[in-house]
Symmetry: C2
Subunit: 201 residues, 2 copies
């Protein structure tokens, strides 16, 4: 969630870390914001260079009350955060429909599946069925490792959990079946370059 | 003809006089909502039937102040509407990336280009360059006529305006170069069916 005050100050939402620790120096929202900023930069680079058109969707809010103190500036006075019904990012890359969500975790040994909602799984399945490319970008903040996790792998891990199995994807499994990529300079995160390793041309 | 939609809304096919009445009973926002509701219904139908995955993006807002009266419900107390940097709708249909905006007008003889922003033109051009299908859905509320206006036509009319030409696309031009479609029952607006007439398989 990338909310900024006018002037650029960051807005921090009081969400809780997946695994609470007494001396972590980051909150869940800070972790989330960092990957989001990296992706914003990367998407701006892709757009400016004609490589891809990928945007983050606005944070969905339920607007309840709006004041009109002047003709030109309506002020929202009461609104609530809504649960998104889809993933946060989508767009087009070389004719391919791209759809993904970005997740950060402070856990180092595995990616906890509680970071994903069931409706996001269903959304990614629908997109895949239509011929789109759906995946997660997972960042391990402690180790600074980034993975493209194809929907197929997410779906298998999700089903395993529903069948009573483990509630996370171990890093070892990601190393074997996901695509690792590294932060760089231009773009900051060349995740579309990594997508090519999924067999996309 | 007395057809009613689920929810009880009445479907009226009767052609309205092309002349504008002095006592219009709708506001600009109401007109906007109506086409949006029709598209929401249609997209829900497409999704439920595995035909396409197309969503409207949330309204972008700049959040300034949030209260936390309880642990579970953050309340946004000050926020402002932002100008969207893209179109409102996108998704995937049979492997094709779909990107469009929906515009209603009470003018009957032409579609005023002031309903479009320059950044939307640039966004649709970028999407087209990547191989996506970009267009406008224009609804003439007085005459209940609907058109798919391909980006190519929008772009030509936009350039004509920038070169000092007319500031709208006449209905006659839409009849010749856009794709007209009609409201129906399931889905309410089968705009993807109309897309096929643009040469999409």
């Amino acid at each position: 969630m990338a909310i900024r005050y006018p002037g650029g100050r960051k807005y921090t939402q009081a969400a809780k870390p997946a695994v609470k620790s007494a001396k972590k120096d980051y909150s869940f929202s800070n972790r989330g914001k960092t990957l989001e900023d990296e992706l914003d930069e990367s998407n701006a680079y892709y757009l400016a260079n004609g490589i891809a058109v990928i945007h983050k969707k606005p944070v969905p809010v339920q607007i309840v009350k709006v004041d009109y103190p002047s003709r030109s500036a309506a002020v929202i006075r009461e609104a609530y955060f809504k649960t998104p019904s889809t993933t946060d990012y989508n767009g087009i890359y070389r004719g391919h429909h791209i759809d993904f969500d970005a997740k950060e975790t402070g856990v180092s040994s595995s990616f906890p599946l509680k970071n994903i909602h069931g409706h996001q799984i269903e959304h990614m399945r629908s997109v895949t069925d239509q011929g789109g490319i759906a995946f997660l970008i997972v960042k391990f903040t402690e180790t600074e490792r980034y993975f493209i996790v194809p929907f197929d792998l997410v779906d298998r891990a999700w089903k395993r959990m529903k069948d009573g199995g483990r509630k996370s994807i171990p890093v070892a499994e990601l190393e074997e079946e996901a695509v690792e990529f590294h932060a760089g300079f231009r773009p900051r995160l060349d995740y579309l370059g990594a997508i090519a390793k999924l067999g996309i041309s």
